[in-house]
Symmetry: C2
DNA sequence: CACTTAACTTAACACTGTTAAGTTCAGGAG
DNA sequence: CTCCTGAACTTAACAGTGTTAAGTTAAGTG
């Protein structure tokens, strides 16, 4: 209980003040707007002070990122209670899309920007736990759907299907974020595109696999 | 014949030398590696010389981008001769995926990075011409499929379907580019993911619309 | 020949992330 | 109490960025 713990607490406090300042600037103005000097200015320290708490800018931003991953997984809390896997899948897709639309800067950093592999894999998120790991949550739903026989025959690879479903919704979101200002394309409303994608994917999964559904003709 | 045209030609020549130097650095080392100073060094001019040919770095890079868009559209040249719209669609998706995998840096800039809207819409590409405009090519194929009754009833909005199909394949590519180094996910091979996506989308679009394929139950 | 003008260079500005060196000051040891 | 350690910070600087203002050079034109 000595002053040692107080020091520790103070350290954590300024640490999270840095994080908070960075988060706000990042969320409202985007990645480019976050500079060490501006963070420092906001919390009224010198720029170098930050380096006492974070190795470099990259690790600072990555810590923000981890936090957002957990926030995303948290969006699925309510949805987990939907019993029908198909409806759960639909709701998951929509929630994911909403997250992307409402947090475009975070989404860009999380899913649209290549990162160098993290050295010691020191994530603070428990991998595989659907409460914290959004991908694990999706896999769980897909596995349920397969187990209950809701997908057509041939659709039995949980990993592959999860990655495909994820990519489908991610495609809509990331095009929205990257190109919704692009006048080249007459964009349909975002919600319409999300629903269209989810409907088509679910319809496609409900049928037999292509090999059996296709007109029996070996192409090539 | 006069020296006026020679000057013009020389100007074009150095202009394209800048472009070429930038393109090479960009393709092999990525966006961050391209700096005005390094371009200048490569072509043995001073950094400021570039500004005599391009307003700023942004417009230089955007001109590269335009070129890549045309290159993408060119990939579809052969494919245009496939008669069956469904098979043409399949081939288009695969060619698009290959383009993304082989040109990740270009793909990132073209489809994964938000750009401020271009002032006077001075693209050098003819919009709507399938020979130059890849999106127009896709729309053409989708329209064909609808016209021949290959999609289920209800799937009749060319624009919406094109955007959905594009987003689906784009999702696979962009996750590959941004996250294939991420050990969090046990990635299936890229080709498998592309084929899975295309098969599911086509299955979802074929014949009966979602409403009839779904168990007849009004959700909500 | 004088003059304009395009094409360029040099030097600088205002930024960026990051680091080396110096300062301050609370807390523990003797 | 003094002495000293070491954490937490600041100041100054480095090497880099995109960009611009001012100066130079040389070719073409009246």
């Amino acid at each position: 209980m000595g002053p040692k713990e107080r020091r520790q607490r103070e350290r954590e406090e300024i640490r999270s003040r840095i994080l908070d300042a960075a988060r706000e600037m990042f969320a409202t103005e985007g990645y480019e707007a976050v500079t060490m000097r501006r963070i420092a200015e906001k919390i009224e320290y010198s720029p170098t002070a930050i380096y006492f708490h974070f190795r470099d800018k990259e690790t600072l931003i990555r810590e923000l990122c981890d936090c957002d991953f957990r926030m995303l997984a948290f969006q699925f809390h309510e949805i987990a209670r939907i019993d029908d896997p198909i409806e759960r899948l639909r709701a998951t897709g929509r929630a994911y899309a909403r997250f992307g639309l409402e947090n475009p800067n975070q989404y860009r950093l999380m899913f649209m920007t290549p990162h160098p592999p993290l050295d010691p894999e020191t994530h603070s998120i428990e991998r595989g736990n659907p409460e914290e790991d959004a991908y694990a949550f999706l896999k769980g739903t897909v596995a349920d759907a397969i187990a209950r026989g809701l997908f057509g025959g041939g659709h039995d690879d949980v990993e592959l299907l999860s990655q495909t479903i994820w990519a489908a919704v991610h495609g809509v979101i990331s095009l929205q974020i990257a190109k919704h200002n692009d006048e080249w394309v007459d964009w349909k409303p975002f919600e319409a595109r999300v629903d269209s994608m989810i409907d088509i994917i679910i319809a496609g999964l409900s049928r037999e696999t292509a090999a059996t559904a296709k007109p029996a003709k070996e192409t090539k």
